[in-house]
């Protein structure tokens, strides 16, 4: 069932650098299309800064809405990078090779985008931008270390720094390849970035050790970032549906589910846009889908635990919340859509080997998963606020305004724009990993069968 082809180094270079040495035909129109949304999205954000948060649909008590949902969503997507590159690297899984860089890239850009949202949803963004840095900027007051909103930028900033370092360290050998094949200002750029890479054994050793160290160090961060974001909600005793101990692992598992599905979407797009059929093969989608089945089932188990324990105490405000969230229009429709798109339809397809190897099905089911996961965040954030405590005239509805929807669309366009910008100048599939896999894999005959073989160094 293995579909590897033997490729020589020159062919690998040619195929994987095809998008970097000259611009593909579809590139400019796509960037203009995305650029339109990016620019108008920024303009909308500036308009909101200028006029006030009144342009959103928020009120009282629904003080957090689409922006926080999308924030948590992007932090969730960012978990793909570490899952795929660090964990699969440490367990020495061969099938990770084509996707590691794209996954790390998705992490970096989705984290960058996620950081925008807490800034832009604040009432005075020009103040929060620097008052959350760990320094007493005005009147000797430091940020409040007890506030989860202070832990968030620390965690996300650490994750961002680590991921960027990880991405860069893995990029250096490929930058050297590009340096040796370009001229002009591009050559200057690659020369500076390649840090004098010559490819001798000492440099390779340093690069490998750095990669392994970073992988191991990033693992605790991977678990803690989304846990800290979840504690924004979990530690609040006043909002029903938020004060639950399971939020930390629930959010992390949901993030892995959402992030790995986003990587599947990205892999399908990479294969189609750059015609990398030799490198991104159905076997990769098969392996990712099997991983996703396990993660999705664990996620469903956590959802079930959260729901059961919320009504375990038989407290009236909590039961009122669940009644609205699951049984009242329009929330009941959103809840059903969330269950179907988050688990039932995708896993229903992924159980079958044929579906796992069909790239079109994998593409659409992975998009469905992310629709479901966005809805999950929405169903956590808003209903709890809409049904807080049973006072009169305090149970309100929330309709997001056009400004909020447009800024959400902007965030998708912005991430895609950044990724395509990166892809124009740097290869999305690591060259040295692909060449390494050619070296580390082989075939052998056992009896009458031809069996693929991987080489493992004796520790």
């Amino acid at each position: 069932m293995q579909q590897r082809r033997k490729l020589d180094q020159k062919q690998i270079n040619q195929e994987l650098l095809s998008g970097n040495l000259k611009t593909p035909k579809w590139y400019i129109p796509t960037m203009i299309f995305l650029g339109f949304f990016v620019v108008t999205g920024f303009a909308t954000i500036l308009y909101m800064f200028n006029t006030g948060l009144g342009v959103t649909g928020l009120g009282r008590p629904v003080y957090w809405g689409l922006f926080i949902t999308t924030f948590v969503f992007w932090v969730g997507i960012s978990h793909a990078g570490i899952m795929i590159s660090a964990i699969l690297r440490l367990t020495q899984a061969e099938w990770r090779r084509p996707v590691t860089r794209a996954a790390e890239l998705l992490t970096v850009f989705s984290l960058l985008t996620a950081l925008f949202f807490p800034l832009m949803h604040a009432g005075r963004p020009w103040r929060i931008a620097y008052w959350l840095l760990p320094y007493d900027f005005s009147r000797g007051i430091w940020p409040n270390i007890r506030s989860p909103l202070f832990w968030d930028p620390i965690a996300i900033g650490t994750y961002l720094t680590g991921s960027t370092l990880f991405l860069y360290v893995a990029l250096i050998p490929d930058l050297a390849v590009l340096r040796d094949r370009t001229t002009g200002w591009q050559k200057v750029m690659y020369t500076v970035l390649a840090l004098g890479w010559r490819g001798n054994p000492r440099q390779w050793l340093l690069q490998t050790v750095a990669g392994i160290l970073l992988s191991a160090l990033m693992l605790p961060i991977f678990v803690s970032v989304h846990s800290i974001v979840s504690w924004d909600f979990a530690i609040t005793p006043s909002v029903e549906g938020w004060h639950s101990t399971i939020f930390a692992p629930y959010f992390v598992i949901g993030a892995v589910h959402s992030g790995v599905s986003a990587v599947v979407t990205m892999m399908a797009l990479m294969r189609w846009l750059w015609k990398w059929n030799n490198h991104i093969r159905p076997e990769h989608f098969d392996a990712l889908a099997r991983l996703l089945i396990v993660v999705a089932t664990a996620w469903l188990g956590c959802t079930f635990l959260e729901l059961i324990f919320s009504v375990y105490g038989r407290e009236a405000p909590e039961i009122a919340l669940r009644e609205m969230q699951i049984f009242t229009w329009p929330w009941n429709l959103l809840f059903i859509i969330f269950l179907f798109t988050g688990y039932i339809i995708p896993v229903g397809f992924w159980i079958f080997k044929k579906a796992r190897n069909n790239i079109v099905i994998m593409f659409w089911t992975s998009i469905l998963v992310n629709v479901g996961m966005w809805l999950e965040r929405f169903l956590i954030v808003v209903p709890g606020l809409a049904r807080k405590q049973p006072f009169t005239f305090t149970w309100e509805a929330y309709t997001p305004s056009l400004v909020e929807w447009y800024i959400m669309i902007w965030s998708f366009a912005w991430v895609s724009f950044l990724m395509l910008l990166f892809a124009r100048f740097f290869p999305l599939i690591p060259l040295f990993e692909t060449k390494e896999s050619q070296v580390f894999t082989s075939e052998t005959k056992i009896g009458r069968a031809t069996v693929p073989v991987i080489y493992r160094e004796d520790d």
Binding site: T51, G52, L53, G54, T56, L58, G59, R60, P61, V62, Y63, W64, P118, H121, A122, G123, R124, P125, R127, I128, W131, L132, S138, I141, W142, P143, N144, R146, S147, P148, L149, F150, D232, I235, T236, P237, S238, V239, L385, K388, Q389, F391, T392, F393, T394, E396
Partner: protein, 244 residues
């Protein structure tokens, strides 16, 4: 969390007698006028953005023809164990040594996390820059900050009045007596349902009402230790000592 400050002579509190409250909303108007609160139009109420530092809640009890209305004015409870205080990332809200929960307007960045933490829903956000008609601009209270957009606000127990009285008393070398200080809502209440005073003074009206057998606090299962004490409505058709 608050540890008792033995040095301050004051621990401000309020008592609300539900039995006396008629639901006239004079307290709401007085508060709006005293504290430069933006005008609440019908549109504000529809968008759930109306700002009422003190609001009057109405509960219907019983079946027709024995229906009874109960009015509960709800303002910031100035909780000793406030859920809104530890969550502000910039320390814009904290507990004073005199027992008040204060909001520092020029420090607030408007993340609205404190509002999510407040179970009594007494915190309000300025979604727009507040506007007053020309004619009303002269009525703004010069003792109270006018808040811009993007800032949280809530009941301050008319801290401007507390400060003025304590400053004057110190200047004149007088002792403050119970009843010298009152907030706007307390002044306006026609039935004397709202009472303001110093809990550290055992003879003050607030202390006596706090220790009354009808006294209770809102949402006590959350253990926020509020400093506003409610006296239950007396319903002659029910047995004594029950509250809502």
């Amino acid at each position: 969390m608050v540890t008792e400050n033995k040095e301050s002579k004051f621990k401000w509190g309020m008592a609300v007698d539900i039995d006396k409250c008629t639901g006239c909303q004079a307290c709401v108007l007085a508060c709006q006028s005293e504290n430069n609160i933006p005008i609440n139009t019908e549109k504000n109420f529809k968008n759930a953005r109306a700002i009422e530092w003190i609001r009057v809640e109405r509960y219907w009890e019983g079946e027709f023809p024995d229906v009874k209305a109960k009015f509960i004015p709800i303002l910031c409870q100035h909780c000793d164990n406030a859920p809104c205080e530890p969550v502000c990332p910039v320390y814009a809200t904290y507990h004073t040594t005199e027992g008040l929960n204060v909001q520092v307007y020029n420090r607030c960045v408007g993340t609205r996390y404190c509002a999510n933490g407040c179970p009594y829903l007494v915190r309000f956000f300025n979604y727009w820059e507040p506007e007053w008609p020309e004619s009303l601009k002269n009525h703004l209270n010069p003792d109270v900050t006018v808040r811009s957009r993007g800032i949280m606000e809530k009941c301050t127990m008319c801290i401007q009045r507390i400060r003025r009285s304590t400053r004057n008393a110190k200047k004149n070398g007088e002792e403050l007596k119970d009843g010298d200080i009152s907030s706007a809502c307390v002044d306006a209440c026609p039935t004397d349902a709202l009472v303001f005073g110093n809990q550290k003074d055992e003879n003050s009206r607030v202390s006596k009402m706090k220790n009354d057998k009808r006294s209770y606090t809102l949402l006590d299962n959350l253990q926020t230790s509020p400093n506003i004490f409610y006296l239950a409505k007396i319903d002659h058709d029910k047995e004594e000592g029950t509250h809502h």
